[in-house]
Every structure is written in C-alpha cells, then in structure tokens.
Amino acid sequence: MSTRRKLAGPARILVAVYAVLAIAATGRSVFQIVDRFDEAPIAFSLSAAAAVVYVVATLALAFRRDRLAWVTIGFELVGVLVVGALTLLAPAAVGLGDVELLDRAFGREGTVWALFGLGYLGVPLALPIIGLLYLGRGRRAAAAVAR
C-alpha cells in the first residue's frame, strides 16, 4: 500500500473518466429499466449490474482501495468481453435476438457492454485495460519500495 495520501495525477484522469462512464451508464440504465424493462430484461439487468460495478470501481480508485479496484475492474473487463461477444455472435442469449446489429449498442435496447462498448466509443473496453495496467504498475512500484 502506498504511503502517499493524495492520488497521483494521471490516476485522477482515470478516476474522472470512470466517473463519467459510471454516471452515463447509471443514468441510461435507470431510465431503460423504468421505461422499457420488458423489451430486453436480460440486457438491461446486465447493464444495471455494469453501472453498479462502474460506480464501485470509481470509488475504489478514488479512495485507493486497490483490492476492490482490481476485483471491480477485472469484473468489468470480463463483462465487456463476454457481453460484447454474445451481442455480436449470439444475441438471442441476452434477449436481443431480433435486434439489428448496431441497434444492440446504439438503439433503444443499447447497453454499455454491447458490442464491446461500441456505443460508448469503446471506452468500456479500453478503460478497464488501462485501469488494470495502472493498478499493476502501482503494485510493482510499491513492492520495489518495500524491498
């Protein structure tokens, strides 16, 4: 664990981008569930879970809870890869069988992890990768200091 109290500069950008994604995903998810849950219940439930994870990841990074950050960011990466693959190759598995390809990410039933985060400019895919790299560097640096 680092002894610095303030979050490092670049890490603040990571937290800021995570916060934007968390807010965007939560807002859209809440709206979809309230407005049209029955249209794609599986997809919207996954989206809600993703939003919760994004919020927790943002807070974990901001408050330097490294283990929690690893778990949530790791979960997100798995999520965007799995849901991305399903929405691309087997949309019926997430209840999007009769939805046009791009609409699975951009349309009424669009969700944050669909098509590997395409509807959010690929940020849901790039961000956890960057996040894990950041956490990995931090760990190695702390281990080097401890030796």
């Binding site: 603040r12 800021a16 965007a24 709206f31 400019l121």
Partner: protein
Amino acid sequence: MIDVFTVVLIGVSVLAGVLAVVLGLVGRKPSDVTILALVIVELLLIAQVVIAIVAPLGGNHPTGNLGEFWVYLATACLMPPAALAWALTDRTRWSTVVLGVAALAIAVMAYRMNQIWNVQLG
C-alpha cells in the same frame, strides 16, 4: 433540438475539451481560459434546456424518447459544475485535463441527444 445550435454546442464542447486536455498535458493549471471555456459550455447547455422546453411548443418534437433525452441533458448540465469544483479545489495540470474530459463527454452526450431528438424512432 435545433440543428444550428446543436452544431455550436458540440463544436464549442469539442474545442473546450481539446484545449483543456492539451493545456493540462503541457502542465498548465486551471486558468481563466480553461475555466471560462467550461462556463461557456454550461451556458450553452442551459440554453439547450430552454430550447428543449420551448421547441415542442413550436411543433419541433423529438422522434425518440423525451425521457431518455432529458436524462442525457440533465446529466450533461451537472458535469461542468462538478468538473469546475474539482478544478478550483485541486489546482493542478491534471484537473485541467479533467475539465477537458468533462467537455468532451458533453460533446458526445450532445451528439446522442441530437440522435434521440432527430434520428432515433421511439
């Protein structure tokens, strides 16, 4: 939404975003320029709120879901104040970049709002 205004909103947000990100990465702390840029974006968003309320009264209705549109617009309106609060309490180059991130995110949201209003059906 009105086409011309949408272009202005997205254009100014992108400019403000790129400006703040670049200035932040070269080491500038939040300054009058970057702070003012975000204030202008917020003023444009408030104007967008007015347009969104008045336009339907003049026959300009969204093709997409009005509720979804307002979720985006409300969220967008909250971002400049949050980013400015961050920049004013934490005066480093990184908070300048955060101002830029907020402005760029607003540009994307404005684009989505326009899609919901003019393109998306339902």
